[in-house]
């Protein structure tokens, strides 16, 4: 093992700065455990980075610490609701009951508000995540649309699946084919979608489609640059010969 070469590869810096892939991270951790000089090089960089960060420290606003500590205190302590109510006039028992009922209602309302607020936060996060995902896709599509070599075809739903709609972008220079799943229902567990390109009027297998949470998927096919059209069929999962379509056509582009 040439450890110097490894140290000079830049992977350690990439690891420390959080730019390494999961696979690379595991590799670096393994190498650091095995070779002390690699570990030392990583630690030296970490120290240099830390010193550099301290030399460029920025004074935080004075209220940040208190706010942060308050947030943490809220997390660790369970909300406690105590209701101590004395009836002002001894004989007016109904007032006691009313006060007790009010206290219970109040406690219930406070609790319900906490639940709602938590749910609200969870929904907010979900919403933000979705928006981020959507924006990422929009950016990807923008990049595709701005590339003059990239052609686009809309695949519209057939009578078999009128609501379905997908878009194919293909790069006539790089052979990359991007499939954007605008709307495609989740297939039954024994079924699977398959993407086809039409070449000289014949369908050519472009690959099976897994419906994941990534709406934009990349396929490589070196024949796609001459494609005259695209289609997606719904096929039986695990069939032997995937080179010819067997199932219903769900979406198809104009040829």
């Amino acid at each position: 093992m040439n450890t110097q070469e490894y140290i000079q590869s830049g992977i350690l810096e990439s690891y420390v700065l959080g730019l390494a892939s999961d696979e690379e991270r595991r590799e670096v951790e393994d190498m650091c455990a095995r070779y002390p000089e690699i570990l030392q090089s990583r630690l030296d960089f970490e120290k240099a980075l830390e010193e550099q960060a301290f030399a460029n420290a920025v004074q935080p606003a004075p209220n940040v610490k208190a706010n942060m500590l308050a947030l943490i205190a809220n997390e660790t302590e369970a909300p406690s609701i105590t209701a101590k109510e004395e009836a002002p006039v001894k004989k007016m028992y109904w007032l006691r009951y009313a006060a007790a009922a009010c206290a219970i209602l109040l406690a219930g309302s406070v609790y319900y508000n906490i639940v709602l607020s938590d749910r609200n936060k969870a929904l907010r996060k979900e919403y933000d995540d979705s928006v981020t995902a959507l924006n990422n896709i929009k950016e990807d599509i923008q990049v595709l649309q701005q590339n003059n070599n990239v052609k686009m075809a809309a695949l519209n739903g057939t009578p078999a699946s009128p609501q379905s709609f997908t878009t194919v972008y293909w790069d006539t220079t790089s052979h990359d084919v991007y499939l954007l799943i605008n709307n495609l229902p989740k297939p039954a567990s024994d079924k699977q979608y398959q993407l086809w390109a039409f070449l000289d009027g014949k369908p050519v297998d472009m690959g099976l489609i897994e419906i994941t949470d990534k709406p934009l998927q990349l396929y490589k096919c070196n024949k796609a640059q001459n494609a005259q059209g695209f289609a997606i069929t719904l096929e039986k999962r695990g069939r032997e010969d995937v080179s010819v379509p067997g199932g219903d056509v769900m979406v198809v582009s104009k040829l």
Partner: protein, 180 residues
Amino acid sequence: MNLKTTYSEEELVYLLQQRNENAFSYLYDNYSGALLGIVNGIIPDKEIANDVLQNVFVNIWRKIASYDPSKGRLFTWMLNIARNAAIDELRSKGYRDAQKNQPIGESGEVAGAVTGPAVDDVGLKKVLGNLKSDLRVLVDMSYFQGFTHEEISRALNIPLGTVKTRIRSALLQLRTMIQT
């Protein structure tokens, strides 16, 4: 009253993992400035950067049990929490909406990509200014804007392998610049 004024990194980690609030207060007092500097490199707006810093420390408190010293120094771990929080903010809808009034490149270039060293850059970003422009763009997009290598490859139309090797060589150059 806290009589102890300094902790070694091992002591600090041990106490933090025991959820010792004095140790956490010490951590804030000693590291918040350096971490805010990191956040500021990504989020130049001081007010928003301070909000992010607040979340960074809440996250540190929440995640401290999962910190593993064999995988990196405490500061490195916190630096990555800070960078991730800043990039999450950068990509949040609220931040994007707030930035809409600002001019962005019309030619479809990635918003905010550096074209040259800015005078007011500090820290790592200032060091970045010493790199050649093609490498600078790559480090800026990956480290300061959080784009994946795949996204950069697609956006700049450079092969994925080239993106990776160029970023690594840029990081090595950065290392020699800060490690004097």
